[in-house]
C-alpha cells in the first residue's frame, strides 16, 4: 500500500474499541495519586469517542504525570522536561488526521516550559492540553513549583516558599488568541470527564488545568477543597461544561458564566478566595495555525519536483 494517502483505510468490518484497547503498561503512580483518575477519564473518553488507537498520540514532557503515555495503548511521545508542546505542535503541523493529547505538569508547563506554554496558546493548533497541577514537583521528590502556595514547605524551601505562586489561569487568559480554557479536579470524575470531552471536541487548542492530588508530597493541598464545598465554585452555562443534575448537586457554590465573556473570565480567575471549575473562556473564532501549516500536504511528488526545478531556475545564469 506504499504511496497511498495517509488517511486511506481498508476497513471491511467496523471496529469496536473497548477500554482494554487503550490500556497500556500498569501505572506506577503512588496509590491515591490523582493521575490514576485522569488516566481513567482519558481512556474512557477515547473509548466513548471510539478514537482509533493508531490515530491517537499522547505527547508528554517529564514528571510523574508525564509518564501517562506509557499507560495508554496508543501512540505516545514521552520526551523532554518542559517541551511537550513544541513536539505536539510539530506532530499537528502536517497531520490533521490525528487526535492529539498533551500531558504536562505544573513544573513542566509553568517553569521550564513557560515560553512554549504561552506560544502554543497563541499558535492555537487543535489539541487537548492537560496540565496536571499538584502544586509541587513530584518526580524529583518535593521541590517548590511555580504554583506552590507561599510559605508552603518543600525541600528547596524548608522555611516555606518565599514567593506567591503564579496563577496559571490568569496567565493563560492573558494570551491573545486563546481558544479554550477550563479548570477541573481529579476527584470529581463526572466533571473531569465532561471537561476533557468538551476540550477534545473543541476545534483549536484546549487548555485544561486539572487540580491533581499528590498524597505523597502534597497530602493536604486539595483536601481543604474536598472538605469545604464552599471553596469550589461550579461555572454553569448552556455553552459550558455540561453535568447531570445529580453531579451538579455536589457543588454548593455555582455561578452562571458565559464562556465568551472575557471580562467576567478575568474577574473569575483573579478572585483567589474561591476555586472555579468549568469552562472559563472559549473563542471559536481564534486563528488556527494548523490550518495554515497543513496547507500543501496533498501535493504530489511531481508537483514538488516541478516546484523545486522552478526554484532552481531562478538562479540560472
Amino acid at each position: 500500500m506504499y504511496g497511498l494517502k495517509d488517511d486511506w483505510e481498508l476497513e471491511p468490518r467496523a471496529r469496536r474499541f473497548v477500554l482494554e484497547d487503550y490500556q497500556g503498561a500498569t501505572p506506577r503512580w503512588c496509590p491515591g495519586c490523582g493521575d490514576h483518575a485522569i488516566l481513567n477519564a482519558l481512556q474512557r473518553l477515547a473509548r466513548d469517542e471510539q478514537l482509533p488507537p493508531e490515530k491517537t498520540v499522547v505527547v508528554s514532557g517529564i514528571g510523574c504525570s508525564s509518564r501517562l503515555p506509557h499507560y495508554m495503548k496508543t501512540y505516545g511521545f514521552h520526551g523532554l522536561h518542559g517541551r511537550p508542546l513544541p513536539v505536539a505542535c510539530g506532530v499537528r503541523s502536517r497531520r490533521p488526521d490525528l487526535n492529539i493529547f498533551v500531558i504536562t505538569g505544573d513544573g513542566d508547563c509553568c517553569a521550564i516550559g513557560t515560553a512554549h506554554w504561552i506560544h502554543a496558546i497563541r499558535y492555537n493548533m487543535k489539541m487537548t492540553v492537560m496540565m496536571f497541577d499538584n502544586n509541587i514537583y513530584g518526580l524529583t521528590k518535593m521541590q517548590s513549583s511555580p504554583t506552590t502556595p507561599k510559605k508552603h514547605f518543600s525541600f528547596t524551601h524548608p522555611g516555606g516558599a518565599p514567593l506567591s505562586p503564579i496563577n496559571p489561569l490568569a496567565v493563560t487568559l492573558g494570551v491573545r488568541n486563546l481558544s479554550f480554557l477550563a479548570q477541573t479536579i481529579d476527584w470529581n470524575p463526572p466533571h473531569l470527564y465532561a471537561t476533557l470531552r468538551a476540550a477534545h471536541k473543541h476545534e483549536g487548542l484546549a487548555f485544561v488545568r486539572i487540580l491533581q492530588r499528590c498524597p505523597h508530597f502534597m497530602p493536604e493541598i486539595w483536601t481543604r477543597l474536598q472538605e469545604d464545598p464552599q471553596l469550589v465554585m461550579l461555572l454553569e452555562h448552556p455553552e459550558g461544561i455540561q453535568l447531570e443534575d445529580a453531579a451538579k448537586r455536589l457543588f454548593k457554590r455555582r455561578r452562571e458564566h458565559d464562556p465568551h465573556d472575557l471580562a467576567a473570565a478575568h474577574e473569575i480567575v483573579n478572585d483567589e478566595s474561591v476555586v472555579p471549575i468549568g469552562l472559563i473562556y472559549k473563542n471559536e473564532n481564534a486563528e488556527r495555525y494548523d490550518a495554515f501549516s497543513s496547507r500543501g500536504i496533498e501535493m504530489t511528488t511531481e508537483e514538488k519536483l516541478a516546484a523545486a526545478q522552478q526554484a532552481i531556475d531562478r538562479f540560472l545564469i
Binding site: I62, L80, P86, S93, R94, A307, F315
Partner: protein
C-alpha cells in the same frame, strides 16, 4: 579622471586602452552601509559567472548594524574573485578596489586586503567638500596611500551620477558597476537583465534609472580609464546557476522533499529561512519560525515522529540550545536534518564572521553518548547536494544528521552546474500500511543497528517513544544488559555507515613530506596553497574530510605515507611554538583533536580565528615553514650520517 598617481595623472590621450590579460583578478567594492556596494558586487559576480568566468564572492560586512558614516569600522561591500578556471576561495590581496570614501577603505587596509600595486578607484568628492576636516582627512589619506604603494585614481562618481539622478547616494553603486563592466569588458546586456530581475518589484522607473546609471558609468570608463583587464573565460557546456551557500541549502531542502523547516532567526543561518519563505510552500513545504531554538527543534522532531521529513537550521548558540533535543532524537532514533551555519564563537562571539568552531560540539555536545552523523560540505555546490545526502542518511539510519556549513559558505557566491532534481532525491511518500504487531518498534538488526519505525496512523505500530532507557519495544527498562544492547545498537549505525564510505582522495601525491587535512569551507584555499607550493617542487598534499562522524575510512593508512600531518582550520589552537604552552598543555584545533584520538597519529595543527576566511597565501606560508623544518631535519640527519660514516 584625475589621479594622485603621477604616472597616470594625465587624461588618456589615446582612445585605445592598454589591455592586460590576467588569469584571475580580485575586485572589491566598499562603501558605507546602505550605499549598495553589496548589490553592485553581487551583480558583478553574477554577470562574470554568466560570461563563463569562475567566481567566488565574499560579503564584506561591517562590524555594526549602523556604523558611523565614513568610519574605519564601516566597510560594507563585496569581494569578487574572478578567474579563468574555477574560483574556490576568496584569495589573497585585492587587485582592484572601488571605494566610496577613503575611511571605509582603511578598514580593508587594516585587515590586509590590499597590497603594493593595488589599484584604487576612489570617490573624489571628499576633496572638494565644504567640510574642512573631511577635506583634510581625504588629502592625508591620498598621501598615505601613495606611500603604501597603492595606485589611486580619483573618480568623480557623485558628480557624474548627478547628471542622471537627483540622489546619487542611491545610484552610485550602479554607476560603479558600469565602470567596472567597462574595465573588465563585461556584457552590459547581462547587467541590464540582472537589474530587471533585482528591481522587478520596484517598477519600470527604477529599472530604467538604474540602467542609465550603469550605462553612464560604462561610458565614462570608456573615455577616461586608459587600461583594461581581460580574464579569459571558458564558456560552460552545461547550464549553470550562481548562488550563495544559504540559498543552496534552501534549494537542497526543496529538492530533497523536506516538508517542515523549523527555526529561530540567528546570523548567519537566518537567510535560509528568507529564501524558503519565498518558495517553500510552492513545493509543499512549511516554514515555522518558533519562539526559540529549543522549540524549533522540538517542532521538527514532532513532525518527523509523525512521518514528515523535517529539518532545523541554526548557528552555534542555537546548536547549544538544541543539544538536549538532539540527544532525544538520537536516543529515540528520529530522523532529522540539522544545518549548522557556523559563526565566530564562543558565546555570541563574532556573529557575522566565519569560524569552524562547532565540530566537537556537534559530535559531543549532548549529555551522554549520542552517536550521530556529521557531514561538512566544502563548496557551495556541496551545500546543495549534502542536504539531499543528509536527508537520505537521516531516514535510512534513523538518526539526526548535522550538516556543518559556515558564514563563508553561507554568504559566498559561486557558479556551478545546474542540478537536475531527480525523483529519488525526494523523500518517498508515507507507507501507512498496517504494522506487523510482532515487529518491535526498535527491531534492531544486530549487525547494522538499523530498524524500521512505525508512524502514527499505522495500525498495530502503537508505541511510546521515550527518552528514557528502553528496550526494543520502547518499554522503559533500566536493566543493565538492555541498556548495553540499546547503546551499542545506536552506536553500531555509525560503523555500518562507515562501511559504505570510500577512503577520501588525496589532493596531490599520495605520499610526501606534508599532508594538510581540512574540512568545510577552507578546502579551496588549502588546495590553492598546496598547488602553489607543489609548483615549486614542495612535497605537500591535502585532504578534505566530508564525513566527520563517522570519519571516512583509511585515514591512519593515508597519514602514514606522509612525514608530517597537519590540520588547517578556522578554530582556536595554541601554537606549538608558543613558549607559554607545553606539549601537554597545548590545546589542539578541533579536527586535529579528533584525528589524533581516532588514528593515534601525531597530527599537528595550524589554525587561526581572524573572523575571515583563511587566505591561501597565509596557508602557503605555513606550509613552506613546515616544509623548511622538514628540510632542516633532513639536512641534520644527512650530517649525522656523514659524521657517523
Amino acid at each position: 579622471m584625475t589621479s594622485s598617481h603621477a604616472a597616470s595623472s594625465q587624461p588618456s590621450s589615446s582612445p585605445e586602452p592598454r589591455v592586460e590579460r590576467v588569469s584571475e583578478h580580485i575586485v572589491e567594492i566598499v562603501s558605507d552601509s546602505g550605499e549598495g556596494a553589496q548589490t553592485a558586487g553581487q551583480m558583478f559576480g553574477t554577470v562574470s559567472a554568466r560570461m563563463g568566468n569562475g567566481v567566488w564572492t565574499v560579503e564584506i560586512i561591517p562590524a555594526e548594524i549602523e556604523p558611523p558614516f565614513r568610519s574605519r569600522a564601516g566597510a560594507s561591500g563585496n569581494r569578487i574573485r574572478i578567474s579563468s578556471g574555477a574560483a574556490t576561495n576568496m584569495g589573497d590581496e585585492a587587485d582592484v578596489v572601488v571605494a566610496l570614501n577613503e575611511q571605509v577603505l582603511y578598514s580593508r587596509i587594516d585587515v590586509g586586503a590590499l597590497r603594493r600595486g593595488t589599484i584604487i578607484f576612489l570617490e573624489s568628492k571628499w576633496g572638494e567638500i565644504d567640510d574642512e576636516k573631511i577635506r583634510r582627512e581625504y588629502r592625508e589619506a591620498l598621501e598615505d596611500f601613495e606611500k603604501r604603494g597603492y595606485r589611486v585614481f580619483e573618480v568623480p562618481m557623485e558628480r557624474e551620477c548627478l547628471k542622471i539622478v537627483r540622489d546619487p547616494r542611491r545610484g552610485k553603486n550602479m554607476w560603479v558597476l558600469g565602470m567596472l563592466c567597462a574595465l573588465y569588458g563585461r556584457n552590459v546586456e547581462f547587467v541590464h537583465e540582472e537589474i530587471r530581475k533585482k528591481f522587478a518589484r520596484k517598477g519600470e522607473q527604477v529599472i530604467e534609472s538604474n540602467r542609465k546609471l550603469v550605462d553612464a558609468g560604462y561610458a565614462w570608463a570608456q573615455q577616461n580609464i586608459p587600461f583594461r583587464f581581460e580574464v579569459p573565460a571558458q564558456p560552460a557546456e552545461k547550464p549553470r546557476v550562481v548562488m550563495n551557500g544559504n540559498q543552496a541549502v534552501a534549494l537542497g531542502i526543496m529538492a530533497s522533499g523536506i516538508e517542515v523547516v523549523s527555526m529561530y532567526p540567528i546570523t548567519p543561518a537566518t537567510s535560509v529561512s528568507h529564501y524558503l519563505a519565498a518558495s517553500f510552500d510552492k513545493a509543499g513545504g512549511f516554514l515555522h519560525q518558533a519562539e526559540d531554538e529549543i522549540s524549533a527543534i522540538g517542532f521538527a522532531i514532532g513532525a518527523s515522529y509523525a512521518g514528515k521529513v523535517a529539518a532545523t537550521v541554526t548557528s552555534g548558540p542555537g546548536l547549544a540550545l538544541k543539544t538536549e533535543f538532539i540527544g532525544l532524537a538520537v536516543m529515540a532514533e528520529i530522523p532529522l536534518v540539522i544545518v549548522v551555519v557556523q559563526r565566530g564563537g564562543p558565546s555570541t562571539g563574532l556573529p557575522t564572521r566565519v569560524e569552524q568552531g562547532e565540530l566537537l560540539a556537534s559530535l559531543f555536545g549532548s549529555p551522554g553518548d549520542v552517536p550521530k552523523v556529521v557531514i561538512a560540505p566544502s563548496s557551495i555546490e556541496e551545500c546543495f547536494h549534502f542536504i539531499i545526502t543528509a536527508r537520505t542518511l537521516a531516514e535510512k539510519f534513523r538518526t539526526p544528521v548535522i550538516v556543518l556549513t559556515d558564514a563563508n559558505l553561507a554568504t559566498g557566491q559561486q557558479p556551478f552546474t545546474r542540478p537536475e532534481v531527480r525523483p529519488e532525491w525526494l523523500a518517498p511518500p508515507l507507507d501507512m500500511a498496517p504494522w506487523d504487531r510482532n515487529v518491535a518498534p526498535y527491531d534492531w538488526d544486530r549487525e547494522t543497528g538499523l530498524s524500521r519505525r512505525p508512524i502514527p496512523g499505522q495500525r498495530g505500530g502503537e508505541y511510546v517513544l521515550t527518552g528514557l532507557a528502553h528496550d526494543r519495544w520502547s518499554h522503559v527498562a533500566y536493566e543493565s544488559a538492555i541498556n548495553q544492547e540499546a547503546m551499542s545498537m545506536r552506536s553500531r549505525k555509525l560503523a555500518a555507515l562507515q562501511r559504505t564510505l570510500k577512503p577520501p582522495k588525496v589532493y596531490g601525491d599520495p605520499e610526501g613530506d606534508l599532508l594538510v587535512v581540512g574540512w568545510g569551507s577552507t578546502r579551496g584555499a588549502i588546495e590553492e596553497a598546496v598547488d602553489r607550493v607543489r609548483a615549486d617542487g614542495g612535497r605537500v598534499s591535502s585532504l578534505t574530510l566530508r564525513f566527520l562522524s563517522p570519519l571516512e575510512p583509511g585515514l591512519a593508512e593515508i597519514f602514514r605515507r606522509f612525514k608530517q600531518v597537519m590540520t588547517v582550520e578556522i578554530n582556536y589552537s595554541d601554537d606549538g611554538d608558543d613558549p607559554a604552552v607545553t606539549r601537554e598543555s597545548r590545546r589542539f584545533s578541533q579536527l586535529a583533536w579528533l584525528l589524533r584520538a581516532k588514528t593515534l597519529v601525531d597530527v599537528d595543527c595550524w589554525s587561526r580565528v581572524p573572523g575571515t576566511p583563511l587566505p591561501p597565501g597565509r596557508i602557503e606560508k605555513e606550509i613552506r615553514r613546515r616544509l623548511d623544518g622538514e628540510k632542516a631535519v633532513r639536512h641534520e640527519e644527512a650530517k649525522n650520517v656523514r659524521t657517523q660514516g
